[in-house]
Subunit: 149 residues, 2 copies
DNA sequence: GTGTCTGCAAAGAATTTGCAAAGAC
DNA sequence: GTCTTTGCAAATTCTTTGCAGACAC
């Protein structure tokens, strides 16, 4: 009975509401600042720190820089966000997607490339060709596109 | 005739001598500082800035931090070094290897994984499965090992 | 000799920290 | 009520810059 109610309740929850659930499920206390940062990342998908700051400022969600640093760190630790770095420039981006996935690096943006088949192909190859390569946690393919300009 | 002499000369050249050649061939003027940094990277293979600084200091190759920054930047621009970032922590390492290659990320170290076959497998797969994905400059596979501890 | 590179010191950015008040649960 | 989080300001760390003298070619 309660289950049915919860499911119903979930189905009418807003996206923002789901985000607060995720924060709580990750074991973090819910604060307006954390909600704002997570909501921002839901929109931005991949963003550098300063892009997050700009986004929050434009929204009128003012908060201290040190708070943003602390929140982003806690989100990464809690597996709410992951990190991805541009192989060309070394710039680090926070990524709303935490499950194993690949990336296409274009000139000014990063695009997710979620392809389990590619993951499997790489893992299979490594297993066959390099059985001595044990304890692989995950593999990540970076696809770097030409900077045509 | 000159060619033979050059080859002979090359065959007896020290590793350090070869390094100076590379710096010159990259179009950079040869300075003791640049030679020291390049030699350091030849030993370290992958290193963060502070590891390079420590190495140089231990060797007695003192030079200013700003010089090291400037040299590393010029080396990256001249394609004498490349950059590689740990996907787990985002730490950036300079890499003595510039040609396309893959990496295995272990707990405290990065190991090169040079495997053209893997590169081809990934490229072939992408071409077949995603022909709309054009202008691929290169692909790079990151193999993240478990931090067993 | 000319133009680039280095050392130095200072400026400028980026990130972290301590602490008191506010807030979550 | 207790323990955590935030804001603020300061400290610290990291990186870049301007300039004069040194050096490569």
């Amino acid at each position: 009975m309660r289950k049915i109610c919860n499911n119903f309740a979930k189905s009418i929850k807003s996206k923002a509401m789901e985000n607060t659930e995720k924060i709580k499920l990750a074991g973090l206390k819910l604060t307006p600042q954390r909600t704002a940062v997570y909501n921002a990342m839901t929109t931005l998908r991949h963003a550098k720190l300063d892009e997050i700051v700009d986004f929050l400022n434009k929204e009128g969600n003012m908060m201290t820089l040190s708070t943003i640093y602390r929140i982003l760190e806690s989100f990464c630790k809690a597996n709410l966000l992951s990190l991805v770095c541009r192989p060309d420039t070394g710039e680090c981006y926070y990524d709303i997607t935490v499950k194993e996935h690949h990336h296409v690096f274009e000139k000014g943006s990063i695009v997710d490339f979620d392809d389990q088949e590619l993951t499997n192909i790489v893992l299979d190859y490594l297993k066959k060709k390099n059985p001595e390569l044990k304890d692989i946690e995950r593999v990540q393919v970076q696809i770097i596109k030409q900077n045509k300009q």
